[in-house]
């Protein structure tokens, strides 16, 4: 049943590499946007908070597929990306695609950050401020490190779902692992075996990612001795 792999395994390797790359870029952009938007969301400046709320609501309330296509077609009008091939796809697709993943993930990440930040007692902020620290230092050195530790499991879930959701980039022609599996299926006139291979690949990737997150949790938790 899986004999086709002898011939087609390079295609799957390429697709897997592409999936890993777009996921990593998406996660990094998502973290960055999540941080920016959570700061806006919690800001005392009403306009900033409002913009963040709108962004979060729109991203959460619309399908990822439509977001990706909208971003791709919009960016391709304003952004000049050279037509360089990268792991079987044009960079003019990979770059907007990864950015779209990040924009999508940023909304969820912002909400996760927010739940973490509001779970830290106000006394922590007040202690920081009373020592003469700035709002920013208090947030980044006192509150966020504790918040991040509390939200690592939720962040892990978000990263895992991003890896799986990255398959939507298939719709804009990024040759990630789902697209490659469908391509192989087309030539074989049988979609089931290549899709099973793709599923296994996603499973292995997300499994490794969840193990890494658990390792990180242990590492960050160890310092605290008792949990709080």
């Amino acid at each position: 049943m899986f004999d086709f792999l002898k011939q087609y395994y390079p295609v799957f390797v390429e697709g897997t590499a592409q999936t890993i790359i777009i996921s990593i870029i998406g996660i990094l952009i998502g973290i960055l946007l999540g941080l920016i938007f959570v700061m806006m969301r919690l800001s005392k400046i009403k306009v900033l908070s409002y913009i963040a709320r709108v962004y979060i609501a729109i991203v959460r309330g619309t399908p990822a597929m439509i977001q990706v296509m909208l971003i791709y077609y919009t960016l391709s009008k304003v952004l000049e990306v050279p037509q360089i091939q990268f792991l079987g796809s044009g960079l003019d697709r990979v770059i907007p695609g990864s950015i779209a993943l990040g924009i999508n993930s940023g909304a969820y990440t912002a909400e996760i950050f927010r739940s973490g930040i509001i779970s830290i007692p106000k006394g922590q902020t007040e202690a920081g401020l009373s020592l003469g620290l700035s709002d920013r230092t208090t947030m980044f050195s006192i509150v966020l490190p504790q918040a991040v530790r509390n939200i690592l499991p939720a962040l892990g879930n978000e990263f895992i779902s991003l890896v799986k959701e990255s398959s939507v980039l298939f719709y804009i022609g990024v040759q990630e692992v789902t697209a490659q599996a469908l391509g192989v299926g087309g030539t074989l006139y049988d979609f089931v075996p290549p899709l099973i291979v793709a599923a296994l690949i996603y499973f292995v990737l997300t499994f490794i990612l969840s193990q890494l997150m658990q390792l990180l949790e242990k590492k960050m938790g160890r310092k605290y001795l008792q949990s709080n």
């Binding site: 007692p121 006394g123 922590q124 007040e126 202690a127 920081g128 401020l129 009373s130 020592l131 003469g132 620290l133 700035s134 230092t137 050195s141 006192i142 490190p145 504790q146 530790r149 310092k223 605290y224 001795l225 008792q226 709080n228």
Partner: protein, 247 residues
């Protein structure tokens, strides 16, 4: 500086939370090295008053002057400098759980570049010795008892070399057997001449340490005077009723 110099001056301070008027026209002074103790029933506005002094509570009317500088009108940068000069100790300690005892103490002076790291660490060890916790420098707060945590919190505030220390019920969250250690540290500070404003329900401690006692009730300073006056002589019926309940 002359002993009579006012270090804190509060004039006609008013603060409300929405409809709830919490401080109604508060005025008092604190002189250098003076120990001022705030007593009174819960909900009377003691914490709010203390928090107005370093502007953890904002949006109040009236004047708070620290060494002649207007706290209420201070810019963000100025406010941060003023806060460094007013150490604050909270009922719930509020140590940073992700930092060791030593890091809790040295973080701010190093971050704010007030001291070179080496000097800040040496100072922190001195302060830990002063509060009787020399051996706990590398520990994380959760491994300490409440009384130990509060003494670290005092050391952390002292690391900023403050002019004034504000204490908001520093022993109220402690098991009774821990209270003495914290009060001893505070007495030591008082002997060294630290200016202190203390909210407390430890009446015998208050009586011993206070140069001036303010009895706060319902957002007002209902009675004030020397410890001798408040605890022994006052004719104020509210003060007497409160004291008879807590002593």
């Amino acid at each position: 500086m002359s002993a009579e110099e006012k270090i804190i001056e509060v004039d006609n301070l008013k603060k409300s939370f929405g409809e709830n008027i919490v401080l109604k026209d508060i005025s008092f002074n604190v002189k250098k090295s003076e120990k001022v103790v705030l007593i009174g029933p819960s909900g009377g506005g003691k914490s709010t008053l203390l928090r107005c002094l370093n502007r953890l509570e904002d949006d109040y009317e009236g004047k708070v002057l620290f060494e002649g500088e207007n706290v209420n009108g201070a810019s963000k940068e100025k406010l941060r400098v003023l806060r460094q000069k007013m150490g604050m100790v909270f009922q719930q300690f509020n140590l940073f759980p992700h930092k060791t005892v030593l890091e809790n103490i040295t973080f701010s002076p190093i971050k704010l570049k007030l001291e070179a790291p080496k000097i800040a660490v040496a100072h922190a060890h001195e302060l830990l010795k002063q509060v009787g916790l020399s051996e706990k420098a590398a520990a994380y707060p959760q491994s300490l008892s409440g009384g130990q945590q509060q003494r670290v919190a005092i050391a952390r505030a002292l690391a900023m070399r403050p002019e004034v220390m504000l204490f908001d019920e520093p022993t109220s969250a402690l098991d009774p057997e821990m209270v003495g250690d914290v009060l001893d540290v505070m007495e030591g500070l008082a002997k060294d001449g630290m200016t202190m404003i203390i909210v407390t329900h430890e009446m015998s401690f208050a009586q011993n340490i206070a140069d001036k006692v303010l009895f706060m009730n319902d957002g007002m300073i209902a009675d004030s005077g020397t410890a001798e006056y408040i605890f022994k002589k006052t004719n104020n019926t509210r003060t007497r009723a409160f004291l008879s309940k807590v002593m």
